[in-house]
């Protein structure tokens, strides 16, 4: 059913992404592509992968931006690396526009999924998503999206430490955190409260589950020009004072 769960469950699994520590290495995107190409979701197809114009489905894309210096806030220019994937919204219009019931939001954990055996490939859900999280697979003729690695997180064949989404496990700077955002006492919820985690485009009213932690403000010293070099010979110990005199000749 494309109707949203009437009583949204307390459990809302999702990701918290730390934009302060993300270094834009694309490891999450590659791990995502690897897991979802080989897992139960079937291949994420590529067209002309080794040719002149490679094209293919990715469920996670990492953008890199320059944030201009902001004198009003005393912030220098910085780089910002921004991984973009499905936010598993509380009010996902991608689900309600689906004419077939292929798209659905699970009541038990809030994950938004596509039943690929029902999808007709009309692409309307991709139009309804403001975050570009749904990509059409030209080969399969259906829409693909992030599953929050639903085939990992509940997978008892895997070691318990590996029951996290592939992107979270791959992140070398631990910029990605996975957990229950419906529980205010969970580690991820506390992180969001501590670091003022943000919703993306909240004005559109999709109420995303995933949160983004904004970059920490740079210390004021970081933006000041480096101090000029000074050397006070009188403050040096005798041996170094002598060396300074010899070298200054």
């Amino acid at each position: 059913m494309t109707a949203l769960p009437r009583q949204p469950g307390k459990r809302q699994l999702g990701l918290v992404i730390d934009l302060d520590t993300c270094v834009g290495c694309h490891a999450c995107a590659v791990a995502c592509k690897q897991w979802n190409s080989t897992g139960s979701g079937g291949p994420l197809s590529d067209i002309d992968p080794y040719g002149k114009a490679p094209d293919g489905v990715w469920l996670n894309r990492v953008h890199s931006y320059e944030v201009a210096a902001d004198s009003a806030r005393g912030q220098p220019a910085t780089t910002l690396h921004f991984p973009r994937s499905c936010l598993h919204c509380a009010e996902p219009a991608c689900v309600t526009v689906c004419p077939t019931g292929a798209s659905y939001k699970r009541a038990e954990d809030g994950i938004v999924l596509v039943d690929e055996s029902k999808c007709i490939g009309c692409k309307l859900c991709s139009w309804a998503c403001p975050y570009g999280a749904r990509e059409y697979d030209e080969v399969a003729g259906v829409i693909k999206k992030c599953t929050l690695c639903v085939d990992r997180i509940y997978n008892e064949q895997l070691d318990e430490t590996e029951r996290v989404p592939a992107c979270v496990q791959a992140c070398p700077t631990r910029a990605r955190h996975f957990g229950d955002l419906g529980d205010p006492d969970s580690a991820v919820s506390r992180l969001v409260a501590e670091r003022s985690g943000r919703d993306l485009m909240p004005e559109l009213g999709y109420r995303p589950t995933n949160k983004y932690l904004p970059p920490r403000p740079r210390r004021a010293a970081g933006s000041a020009p480096p101090a000029a070099e000074t050397l006070d010979p009188q403050a040096l110990p005798p041996l170094l004072r002598w060396l300074d005199r010899v070298l200054s000749r």
């Binding site: 944030v67 921004f82 019931g101 490939g121 009309c122 403001p130 919703d199």
Partner: protein
Amino acid sequence: MKPAFSVIFFTTLSGAGYGMLFWLGLHYAWSPLPLSREFAAILFALALLLISIGLLSSLLHLGKPARAWRALSQWQSSWLSREGLLAMTSYAPALGLMALIWLGALSLPAQALGALLALIALATVSATAMIYASLRTIPAWHDWRVLPVYLLYAVLSGGLLLMTLLSLTGWRPASAVLYVAAAGLIALTALKLSYWQALVTLEHTPEPASALGLAPGSVVHAFERPHTERSFITREMGFVLARKHARVLRLLAIVLSALLPLLALLISHRLAAPAGVLASAVLAMGLGAVLERWLFFAEARHVVMRYYP
């Protein structure tokens, strides 16, 4: 947004078909047209043919056309599903009314079916418009003018086509018909002009800082995209060809779909055999509708492009 020709042809062709069914239904609800049953059957068949060609062409843009029947299931939440369901339902009163006209039974049941047909025809076109108008992600479509414009295009193009065909039988439109048509064409022009005016201010919300979760007003430039080549997102949502030529194309669309048909209506009123002039009005309006629909897609910006500043 990338204009999909299958969807453009679907909305214009079946729009005209539903417009014809609307007027036919309305007329038989009020009083029967003075037609032979054969000619009436031809009119209904033509309307249903336009609708069916349109519906089949809309299947072409699906990845899995064989599963299209599934699209009838989610009418509780999805406008696309409602459109499909209404489109399927509309065949019943159309074929039923056709049968009653053939049998010459033009009393109350035929009148009731006519009223129902007119209503379902309008509802189907409205559902099509709402697919677009309900998307908050495309500000240019999330606009109150989208629904009346879709309805006017359907009712006017179907009406002009019906007038042309009826004039072949020697039927002359009453002055009231001409007034209604002229008012509709003028309303269409006004709505489109005000829509294009509004597009100017619609463009810039939400700002890129909001898309990235940064402090409001942060100035952001992209220095590296996630992909070196184009992706589904940039192909589908990042279509930019039309904006360059928007002024000329808008002018052409409104001249073809409203001003030329208006002129043709005025001329046809003074002619003994207006079929030729009316046919040219239908042709102009058809071309205008295709162009307007193409612009409707090509000019619309999707908010996901905030990630590609």
